[in-house]
């Protein structure tokens, strides 16, 4: 029983980070209708910026903020330069998805050219010395990761639900023209969505970097759990993405401990495939958003 509880506790921190990634992916999808394949690579870029700052003897807290800002700027710049020309075009969303795929490939290589292919490590925000409660151990570091990811995710969920800009972002993907008739330029909302999503990706990158390390090719390893979290929670549902992330991490750890660590990574892929086959709208999503009309 202790092993089972330990398995669940160990998954919580990673799950919160997956949820944070899922929130970023869902936010851009909810606003623009675009699935951002470069999201994981943006997270890695944020981690590398923080790493570069710590290498320049900048305090870790400032480096973390720098990493988040770097990722937010990069994501905003991506929207402004390569995605904006496609708005309004015939099959523009399809082109935009392909472009984010190209940006992911490009960012991976740029990261490799800048910082090399050797994996790097970023200092942890809190101590890694384990605390023991009832035979179950957890570290201040994992608790910090969990709290940071959950607080930021909750802030974004509330911001989108309660603020005027947030409501406009929700409406933008459904009817861009109505939003512009209300006096809000959709392009500005798209830029805000990508910038905020970039910031969440940067935070996810700096939170997870101390435990998994930084390597240029890790973008896919981060974006797939993010996608799985978003799909399981219901694409476009921000609270669903948070819950989906935690569920994915729990399943991952259970398979790794009780079945085989080799197949643990398959959990997230299988979750995507099974949800799309059996229950397309996930836990909290909208069926109309997901199922083809014809």
């Amino acid at each position: 029983m202790t092993l089972f509880i330990q398995t669940l506790v160990s998954a919580i921190a990673a799950g919160a980070v997956y949820g944070l990634l899922g929130v970023g992916i869902s936010l851009t999808y909810k606003t623009t209708g675009i699935i951002n394949f470069a999201h994981g690579q943006v997270a890695i870029f944020g981690g590398y910026v923080a790493f570069a700052l710590t290498e320049s003897h900048v305090p870790l807290g400032v480096a973390v903020v720098g990493g988040i800002a770097g990722a937010a700027l990069l994501s905003g710049a991506m929207e402004r330069t390569v995605l904006r020309p496609l708005y309004g075009r015939d099959r523009g969303v399809v082109g935009a998805i392909l472009i984010t795929f190209g940006v992911a490939v490009l960012l991976q290589e740029v990261t490799q050219l800048l910082w090399g292919s050797v994996p790097q490590t970023l200092g942890s925000l809190a101590s890694g010395n384990a605390w023991q409660i009832g035979g179950v151990s957890f570290t201040p570091s994992s608790l910090t990761i969990f709290l940071a990811a959950i607080v930021v995710s909750a802030a974004i969920v509330l911001g989108v639900e309660r603020t005027r800009i947030g409501r406009a972002m929700r409406g933008c993907a459904q009817d861009r023209e109505v939003v512009s008739l209300l006096g809000i330029p959709p392009e500005r909302l798209y830029l805000i969505a990508f910038t905020v999503a970039g910031a969440t990706a940067g935070l996810a990158g700096v939170l997870i970097a101390p435990s998994v390390g930084l390597a240029p090719g890790n973008g896919l390893e981060l974006v797939v759990p993010g996608f799985a979290a978003a799909v399981l929670g219901g694409f476009g549902s921000l609270p669903g993405a948070v819950l989906g992330g935690i569920l994915i991490a729990l399943l991952h750890n259970i398979v790794a401990v009780y079945i085989s660590s080799g197949y643990a990574d398959a959990v997230q892929y299988m979750a995507i495939i099974l949800v799309l086959l059996v229950r397309v709208r996930g836990l909290f999503g909208d069926e109309l958003e997901t199922v083809r009309s014809v």
Binding site: Y29, G33, I35, F37, V82, P85, L86, R89, R91, V93, V94, G95, I97, L98, I99, F101, G102, V103, A104, V105, L106, L107, Q108, E109, V110, Q112, L113, L220, V224, F227, A228, V231, F235, G262, Y263, D265, A266, Q268, Y269, M270, I272, I273, L276, L277, V280, E289, T290, V291, R292, S293, V294
Partner: protein, 371 residues
Amino acid sequence: MPPSRAAAQDDTTPRPTRPTPEVPSAPSDARPRRAVLGLGSRPGRGNSGRPLVIRFVAVAALAQFVPSIASTSNMLTINLACVYAVAAVGLNLIFGLGGLISIAQGAVMAVGGYITILLFGKTLGLVPCLLLAGCGGGVASLTMGLVGARVKTHYFVLASLAFAEVIVLVATTMTGLTGGSNGTALLGVPVLAGLNLSTNSGFFHFASILLLVVVYLADALRVSRGGLGLSALTMNSYLAVASGVNPLASRALATTVGGVFGGIAGGMLALLDGYLGPQNFDIPTATLLLLIVVVAGRAGNGSVVIATLILTFLSQGLLTSPAVGQLVYGIGLIALIIIAPGGVYAATDWSRRRVVRWRGRVGYKSGGSHE
């Protein structure tokens, strides 16, 4: 006053009439003919206008001529291009014709490749292995197609990504069967009708003919009832359904046939390299195939073959510096979609129209000055 109907009928003066399309008359009791995989139609008429025999003679001549002038390394690249061309023609059916973005064509190739490498030389001959590879690829791709037929394009991309990663993960984890990360080697020498496929020239003869057949079948599908239905679905799904197109069957057809070609391409790759590993089917392979289809645009399968040849040579040349190679891929993909979303064909067509318009303006201006 308008002339009376009788007067109009008596009027024997020949009037210019609009040419009407010939509608083939069918016996009243006959059921409408269905073109299975388009083979009931005439791809030569609908597409390039060249009958299969002429294409076959041209390819046979090319198969004799190219090995005599190309160096060994160039022949290896040309052979690899033939393999990728078969897979890209399949992807062109899924993405270009069906409008479904798939990142899993590399994984579908993996299914065919592993079927070939595991069965050839032990239990089955070359042709049954390739047929099974095609079937395996078709079934794998159809599984994805069933998801894609139900959900919107975005979700199909995610499903294809997950599918691709599962296949690579299985190939890496099942070390007893696939050799894991180290890969597995082909047993025996592949020989077909006296052609030794382990030699460059022998493989090129085989691959070029197979590519010709695949392009022919893909062209046939494009002009068949199913292919036209797919085109209609991509352009306007509501009108297509109102016209009687079955979206589920059409998308399943595109993914299955595209997957069969992908599986055969995987089998060809196993024969060409004599070795397969998960790294043969990773995301860069999927990127290359996707880039080929984007570069080719909507101009047909001939341009897919040309785009494959160019991009394979480019990718092999860039292999000396893999980081720069991927950098070029990324920039190329982004630039193409922004500047020339219809591919190189559309870009050329756009440039030609611009030149014609510019010439017209210059001619008008110079004519005006004379006056």
